[in-house]
Symmetry: C2
Subunit: 229 residues, 2 copies
């Protein structure tokens, strides 16, 4: 689906702390009046990733998919500040919510990340996955908590897109699993982290374009080695 | 060993970010001219924890212990800034170096924590353990890397002393193990984290004073549950 006009643009920079993206400018452009039309062949998708766009559009996408097994939703500070009600509506309709630590604190209005995660669970999703950049990721659910450190990288080239890569790796793994169990969902978090760790190694999606299945499996095994005790 | 005079004092505060202790004042007082005299019955100690004091004094302690199996050394920003040469001398004589993330970056002169850890290894210790507060701990060694997330606490009452508690739990566990293996050293890191997670739950060492062995083992099992995949 392509509409005429300028594409969405986000301009920002990273400081000393690569965990922290500073937004300089967000131009909605074609997203301003965009109405997503999901092609018929996608409407029976079992796994839906609502990547970061206007939560109103995310809801429109949801209206068009018939009976997904799992809906994962990402967002960002811009929507938390400017479309809070629409975002809460979308969040109440999804299975898993994915956001970074600053966004989780902001959306929950709670500085402690664990307490923030619990508040976000009350907004509807059955799982809340909070990305912490170089500090890894935590996943909260009813009666369950999982914490995974980040893959140790001596240099991070470009953190842009790490969240989307995480979402792709996470859902890609889960979609091939026969069923969703606590173990498979945790492993999906590890595969998401593996994918994100490759994404930040080079500019844009260059590293992902050159990635092999064996690269991914090797790094998954490394995650096991560095975390087991 | 007690000498007359005012005791060492550190005054500081914690902001929104409890990982970050802001030093307002450090009074050395009796430490200024202190010369530690280790009692004869301690000179054969197998496990030595050089807690955070002037690195010159840490070296004097080391001179008096005969053949320890393991020496663990802590430090802080004050010594990195004001006694750098003496600190490097002490660090070159110890087995394991324990510090927090800001101190590791400062001592290594390197913003990336993994790269900083590698530089610190070159200064002599066979292991470098970097505490990251709510983000857990990493341990680097020759050809080995271990990363453990923090225990998820919804409120942190007082982070002062978390590092010392970590050191105590770490060495306490290792001293009871028949031998030091990669696995036992990693488990010692978990026991250190368990001890620190209790220490920050209340002011001063109140919580540690009320701690039972069963509390510790239960939290160790929780660490396994929240990290396994």
């Amino acid at each position: 689906q392509v509409v005429p006009g300028r594409t969405f643009r986000w301009r920002g920079y990273y400081d000393y702390d690569l965990n922290d993206a500073h937004t300089l400018e967000t131009q909605l452009n074609v997203f301003e009046d965009f109405r997503p039309a999901i092609p018929e062949e996608y409407r029976d998708s079992e796994f839906v990733f609502l990547a970061n766009i206007d939560p109103v559009l995310q809801s429109m996408v949801l209206d068009q998919v018939r009976s997904p097994r799992l809906v994962l939703c990402d967002t960002m500070n811009y929507w938390i500040e400017n479309r809070r009600d629409a975002l809460l509506e979308t969040v109440s309709r999804v299975d898993y919510l994915l956001l970074n630590d600053a966004e989780a604190r902001q959306l929950a209005g709670e500085p402690n990340l664990i307490a923030a995660g619990r508040k976000l669970l009350e907004m509807g999703p059955s799982r809340v996955i909070i990305k912490k950049g170089e500090h890894g990721v935590i996943m909260l659910g009813e009666g369950t908590f999982f914490s995974l450190p980040a893959y140790p990288l001596e240099s991070v080239f470009d953190p842009t897109g790490a969240g989307d890569s995480f979402g792709g790796g996470f859902l890609g793994f889960l979609s091939r699993e026969p069923e969703m169990t606590e173990e498979s969902i945790r492993r999906a978090v590890v595969y998401g982290s593996v994918t994100a760790s490759f994404a930040v190694e080079d500019f844009s999606c260059r590293r992902l374009g050159a990635l092999t299945r064996e690269d991914i499996e090797a790094r998954f095994r490394e995650f096991m080695e560095i975390t087991c005790f």
